[in-house]
């Protein structure tokens, strides 16, 4: 990591020895000489902004459902939701390429069957990021498991006391479940954001950054600079900017967390 920081101040193309160029790599990024930097930042932020909240909401709902007593065969459902996590990203990307296929894909066929409009999922600039978000939601299993563990850790006595006080389902959910779960939500928020900033395989396998760079995710951009163009120094600089962004975002979350995260010990 230290060497990559040093490299980020050099002109290093693997084939030559590193040559010190100061902030050259960084200015090239910020002054717009590099045509992909802002584009990939924008694409990645769009992805994070969609993926993180949706991922939290979906996995929280799934965990809540799986935590209900009235559902039969819970362990089977839990397994089913966790399964996609074990499928290698490359394999699931291949599966989703088929699902997203504009004329032959399952998704569009289902939409046609129920008389809804169809989309060119991966082939249109507007839809490609939402499509990849949709696909990634398929793999929320590990977040679900963490939520589920958290839900089971909420003391039953609290609910019982609330029932005695005459609280309904919504009341209990808002005043007990959510507050008790905030540390878990916070943890998943941080992990989810870090993961989302580093989205990569989907771009490599499914879209190669296209169409018209609409899915040029930041990590794919780093990979391309480093291994396709061989610009290691430049790629190191780009990677360091991502590191700082992630650091800043997590820092921000930690700052605000005081206001909304409750730890039992503090009560």
């Amino acid at each position: 990591m230290v060497s990559s920081l040093l490299l980020s101040f050099t002109d290093y193309r693997i084939v030559n020895s590193p040559k010190f160029i100061g902030l050259g790599n960084y200015t090239r990024l910020f002054d717009g000489t590099d045509p992909y930097f802002y584009k990939s930042l924008w694409v990645t932020f769009k992805y994070v902004a969609l993926r993180v909240p949706l991922g939290l909401i979906v996995s929280f709902i799934v965990a809540l459902l799986l935590n209900q007593d009235f559902i039969r065969g819970k362990s089977i459902f839990r397994t089913i939701y966790y399964l996609p996590v074990i499928v290698p990203a490359v394999a699931s990307s291949m599966i989703w390429i088929w699902l997203f296929s504009p004329d032959l894909g399952l998704i569009n066929n289902v939409l046609t069957a129920i008389h809804l409009p169809t989309f060119n999922w991966l082939d249109s600039e507007a839809m490609v990021v939402p499509s990849i978000v949709m696909m990634s939601l398929w793999g929320v299993g590990s977040t679900v498991i963490i939520f589920l563990a958290g839900l089971q850790g909420v003391p039953r006595s609290l609910y019982e006391a609330a029932t005695v006080d005459g609280a309904g389902f919504m009341r209990k959910f808002l005043n007990i479940t959510i507050p008790m779960m905030t540390p878990i939500i916070f943890f998943n928020l941080i992990m989810g954001s870090i993961g989302a900033f580093q989205v990569f395989t989907e771009a490599l396998i499914m879209t190669q950054g296209g169409p018209n760079n609409a899915s040029l995710f930041y990590n794919y951009y780093i990979y391309r600079e480093a291994f396709q163009f061989g610009e290691m120094g430049h790629a190191s600089a780009i990677a360091w900017i991502l590191f700082i962004i992630i650091l800043a975002v997590t820092g921000l979350f930690f700052r605000t967390s005081k206001a909304w995260v409750f730890y039992e010990s503090e009560v």
Binding site: T33, Y36, N120, D123, N212, R224, F227, M232
Partner: protein, 468 residues
């Protein structure tokens, strides 16, 4: 926080330990070849034998390719080993080739000889990571540059060459004969001087494009939204044959301007886009996704443009394949693609690496790949000497009747190279041009709009032609 620290410390120790081990190993190696007399007597015996290289030399050959290519190349390397006594390790890297080789080069463990894509090969050669073969060629009485095709050489400076393409890969028109006969049409031309001009070609393709009610694209009742059979299919990113046929090129003649934004190139590119959006004879990229891989065999497409290599797969299926020359705009030509085989300059045995290089460039060594249709040979006499031509280009399933005219002769006489052979900084320029062309091939912008818009961004990346 304590725990991770301890893990880190463990990791640190084990890393240092491995590093020590590794450096110890490499020390041992240099000790063997060096002249320290402290070693056991056995070693000196090895050293005195060092004049006869057969015992010690080992080369690494890196390559990609499917299982058939893997088998043939490995066998060819084995045959070389048997003949010369030089050991060759076959390194087959089926995916992510460039990433792996890049890492190896950066780690100073590059192979001796190997395939490489043209973009990386050229830049690495400029930086001295690839061997200049000129001195080896000049001092070798058994090798004449003129024996090989002119279009296959990669020169990064006028008199510096990193070598030849691994194989010749020529393009041509391929069609389903039965479909042409059913439509009552003549077979497409097979010689350059009879090549279709563009309008004839478009009319022909229209006759072969049918909607679900059987109307062809010339019929006023033709419904372009319900096409059942396309006349023509083409990967439009292989547009360079059309561009050059129309008198354009990737860069301008002097190598200083963006040639694709010039009128000749724009016109050619627009004509290709018109096949999809104006004439409706060719599937759009989106429609292509919904076509089966075997569109030609299953009669979804009547004619397609593809490279030589497609013949290998076609030969395995029972269907009536015909071949012809590409339609022309001003001048008939075809596109030659390829990726070079190179010798990495880190090799310790350049002479033996060159022997291996020559061996692999000889069509005899890799004949199975040539007969099967995947490759075309690098040597000229395999295109001119009837006896040699019979060994690969005729009388077998992979090479249809007109192949010798439509592919072989056309490649030899009118083959133009893809820009990767000669445009400096090509991979970076094309990273800008490809997204711009996305908009043309998806029908959102005209060729002129898209290419003019990207021209100012491309301009600073233009560094001219290699070796011109």
């Amino acid at each position: 926080m304590r725990k991770p620290k301890r893990v880190k410390r463990k990791l640190f120790y084990s890393l240092t330990f491995t590093a020590l081990l590794l450096s110890a190993c490499s020390n041992g190696n240099t000790g063997n070849t060096g002249n320290t007399g402290n070693n056991e007597p056995k070693n000196t015996a090895v050293e005195s034998n060092a004049n006869t290289p057969k015992e010690k030399i080992e080369l690494k050959f890196a390559f990609w390719g499917d299982t058939i290519e893997k088998k043939t190349v490995t066998e060819a390397l084995k045959a070389f080993e048997d003949k010369t006594g030089i050991k060759v390790e076959a390194m087959h890297i089926p995916s992510d080739y460039l990433t792996k080789i890049t890492t190896m080069v950066a780690g100073n463990v590059a192979p001796d000889v190997g395939y490489l894509n043209s973009g990386a090969a050229m830049t690495w050669a400029e930086e001295g990571k690839i061997l200049d073969l000129t001195p080896l060629i000049d001092s070798d009485p058994d090798f004449k540059k003129e024996d090989y095709l002119d279009q296959i050489w990669y020169n990064w400076e006028p008199n510096k060459t990193l070598g030849m393409s691994t194989a010749v890969e020529g393009y041509g028109l391929m069609y389903n004969k039965n479909m042409i006969e059913e439509a009552g049409l003549e077979l497409p031309p097979t010689e350059a001087d009879k090549a279709w001009d563009w309008d004839t070609f478009v009319t022909y393709a229209k006759k072969l494009t049918l909607d679900n009610e059987g109307h062809n694209a010339l019929d006023p009742n033709f419904n372009p939204n319900k096409i059942k059979q396309f006349g023509f299919q083409y990967d439009p990113y292989n547009m360079m044959a059309a561009v050059v046929s129309n008198g354009g090129n990737y860069l301008t003649e002097d190598g200083k301007g963006f040639g694709l934004a010039q009128p000749e190139a724009v016109e050619a590119i627009q004509k290709l886009a018109d096949l999809m959006y104006l004439h409706h004879v060719s599937p759009t990229p989106l429609q292509t996704k919904s076509l089966p891989d075997m569109a030609l065999q299953t009669k979804k497409v009547a004619m397609t443009v593809s490279g030589n290599w497609a013949l290998q797969a076609f030969a395995e299926q029972d269907f009536n394949l015909g071949v012809g020359v590409l339609p022309k705009l001003k001048k008939s030509n075809t596109l030659l693609d390829g990726a070079p085989t190179v010798i990495f300059s880190s090799t310790k045995h350049p002479k033996e690496a060159w022997m291996l290089y020559k061996w692999m460039a000889d069509p005899k060594s890799v004949l199975p790949l040539i007969e099967s249709g995947l490759w075309m040979p690098l040597k000229k006499d395999w295109y001119t000497n009837p006896e040699l031509i019979n060994k690969w280009a005729s009388g077998n399933k992979a090479h249809p009747d007109d192949y010798t005219k439509a592919f072989m002769k056309q490649t030899l006489e009118n083959g133009i190279r893809t820009p990767g052979f000669e445009v400096k900084n090509f991979s970076k320029i094309s990273a800008l041009v490809t997204p711009a062309l996305d908009k043309v091939w998806t029908g959102k912008e005209t060729a002129e709009e898209a290419l003019k818009a990207v021209e100012s961004k491309v301009q600073p990346l233009i560094k001219g032609y290699y070796g011109k």
